[in-house]
Symmetry: C2
């Protein structure tokens, strides 16, 4: 169904493309206005920034334009805003909620952002500047400041009036209850409003055990709380417990996807962020450091091999097995690394039970090492026999080196991230290139040491 969805959107792209070439305004307007903004954003992603602008100018009003922009990737939306005249940009941005305004303005360069902010009405620009002060990865940075607060002494009827008077506030799931000082002291679900009698005083039915986060709380921790307790939104308070906003579940979903992407790319040593249309140069900058670490390790590996050049000159065929031995060790290491890094991220693996995890990985590494060591040893025997009288010993050496290298790879790859986690360093820093290169050095050292012992 998703595929058909995407295919349908791609067909619309074709249609719009043709209509745009013919400058068929009324037809374009019909499509833009009848398509869900989320779908429209996807369709627009196939166009250049100029053409995107050419299309949305046919939308029925700035509210519609704002809805489409907020569904787009931030970078694409920012690119469009940069092409607009300031008054046009301001008109569209004013139709957005404050948190969306902050996200968009935060992704513009400072000069453009300031020009737009200066052209906004003072109360709106104050609100958005307030939000822009928060770290974009904190609760304050992802919260929506438009929340409905109600005094604890109010009645259900008064609360219903508040909801009726704020039709413009998106995504209301809870009413937050405050005391005389504006401090958060309880929460009431919309369902309470539906099922309670109008004259009931809120403090008697509210849930006083309201879980809240501070503005500076890390977005990942916010996401974990919302997920753990199955909340639809979590209130955000300042230092004095004053309610300043709420993070809603749709933002939490974005955070979870973003953090998963980050871990995924970190694991491969491909930088942290994935940006649509990021320049090749930016990609190079993100990836080069990990490759540099791998290069240094690789050069170290070459020195290890040169150290054993005498052995190698006697048994040249040993060279053929270098890649497969370090490859197998590297692969089993990557597996252990992935299981441990992801397990720590999802809290399925606990730091307190590190030893249990490591010993399990060692067991797995040993079993896999023995299995593939035996196979490679047999291949070695077949390859070496006839070429040298030491064929049997060499084959045993290949098998034993494979098994040892795989076992140690599992040990190294599982203990490094756990060690990092223990001392409060993000375990995802123990990236693939880092660990596999360490395993390369380990692998060739073990290989030639075992060979020297056995022949």
């Amino acid at each position: 169904m998703q595929t058909t969805h995407q295919q349908k959107n791609y067909r619309y792209y074709g249609t719009l493309r043709r209509l745009l070439n013919r400058k068929a305004g009324p037809n374009i307007r019909k499509i833009v206005d009848k398509t869900h903004p989320a779908d429209m954003a996807q369709i627009l992603s196939y166009f250049t920034a100029e053409d995107k602008l050419g299309i949305i100018r046919y939308a029925k009003d700035d509210r519609r334009r704002a809805e489409i922009l907020r569904e787009m990737q931030l970078e694409s939306a920012a690119e469009m805003v940069l092409l607009m005249q300031v008054p046009q940009a301001v008109a569209i941005i004013l139709e957005m909620s404050t948190d969306d305004q902050a996200d968009l303005l935060g992704s513009l360069d400072e000069q453009h952002a300031n020009a737009i902010i200066a052209a906004m009405p003072k109360d709106e620009s104050d609100d958005v500047q307030e939000l822009l002060r928060y770290d974009e990865n904190s609760a304050g940075g992802i919260m929506n400041p438009d929340v409905l607060a109600i005094h604890m002494d109010s009645t259900i009827a008064e609360a219903i009036k508040v909801v009726q008077d704020h039709e413009d506030v998106d995504m209301i799931f809870y009413l937050y209850v405050v005391d005389d000082h504006g401090s958060l002291c309880g929460v009431l679900s919309l369902r309470h409003l539906v099922i309670s009698k109008p004259d009931v005083v809120i403090k008697h039915i509210m849930n006083p055990n309201v879980v809240s986060v501070r503005t500076e709380e890390d977005q990942e921790d916010v996401a974990r709380l919302v997920t753990r307790y199955d909340f639809l939104a979590i209130p955000v308070v300042d230092d004095t417990n004053n309610l300043v906003g709420a993070v809603t579940v749709d933002d939490v979903i974005d955070v979870i996807a973003e953090e998963a992407t980050e871990d995924f790319l970190k694991m491969a040593g491909a930088g942290e962020e994935q940006e649509e249309n990021a320049s090749a140069f930016k990609h190079v900058l993100g990836r080069a450091p990990w490759l540099f670490a791998a290069l240094v390790g690789g050069i170290a590996t070459s020195f290890v091999i040169r150290n054993f050049e005498d052995t190698l000159s006697t048994y040249l065929s040993l060279a053929a097995f270098i890649p497969v031995i370090i490859g197998m060790a590297g692969n089993v290491g990557t597996q252990s690394l992935a299981v441990v890094v992801r397990g720590l991220a999802t809290r399925q693996i606990k730091i307190k039970q590190a030893w249990q995890t490591i010993s399990n990985e060692i067991l797995v590494g040993t079993l896999l090492g023995c299995l593939y060591g035996a196979i490679l040893g047999a291949v070695g025997l077949w390859q070496f026999s006839g070429n040298t009288p030491m064929a049997f010993n060499l084959a045993i050496a290949v098998g034993a080196a494979t098994a040892t290298a795989m076992l140690l790879a599992a040990l190294v790859a599982s203990s490094i991230p756990l060690m990092f986690a223990r001392i409060n360093i993000d375990p995802a820093v123990a990236t693939g290139p880092f660990v596999t290169t360490a395993i390369d050095i380990l692998g060739v050292t073990i290989y030639f040491t075992v060979v020297n012992l056995l022949v």
Copy 2:
């Protein structure tokens, strides 16, 4: 804060441990009853299944026990149920919602599940068996069948009555509107109930453009729809458009996390599923196939090297550069692979724009290849000079081989997943071990071919 949260829970673990050893029932009960079920589940995760059972038997009632069980990892909950007498298990399971019952029963072995189902009241067991028939990764498998449906001719007052009469139904965000035949024809948010007049007829204010999914829809597509449109729940219908349940946003969050884990582990060739406490043997089974593929590739690599043994015997120092060249190519390949696989999963990369993605990766691979090829060439010159009159040519060969291998690695690693996606195969099948092994073969072939050309 999350850390403090976890630390607090770990402290509770210590306390409970001591209380359990002293069999201090009333104190245990106090902790179990005052702690949020989600936290209690985390605390229990530090205990053995027997001790978990020993602790929750002090909970105030079966409802509390059910709440704790549903917050636990499925495997741990199932392990506990297996230790219970059937009547005890049934009493707890009957306190769960039907979808939680189905999840738990579905993770037991068939014999135990059937024994429990047979001991349940007929109407409850019919409901859960109905759910168990759906694929666990489909909309039917993750939906909650307890939804509130209301006839389109009802009034707001009647709808409010329905909500009031179903206090036991969890997570109500929307009322789904059906026609005379039970077909889904609209949706009404709780907010509508709050702000509308009691005598308004629902069909006049409902949103008739209700997005629904079929029971057989893949859970990943359901998650994507909910995320795209920022829904809190999405209704599930059968072949005849009859409302049979709804998937709520908390389940969608679980799906997103699960799918990210799946991709993460697949990428490392570590099987698909991560299970807490899965046996080492199970891990071995999950990982062995990818390693086998790597082994076959590794043996192929060894044949390639043996093929060039004459060159190698003339210039033995070449062997020292094998690991670093295939390592650098493998790392740049893994980076491209991660960016493309994750980009396809998050729809930031589109199949229709494959050529753009591949050419970008080739450009990145070329830039990185030239950079690190130059460095490695210089290292080679330093290493070879003095040992052979061909030092300069060998160094050029090392540098050129590095650059070429890295460029081709980026090409291979980005085009394979895109090719898979194009023919509707999950791009994550192009796993790390698979691609890095292919790059190993490619790398040594390029290396020795370039050497033979230049010396």
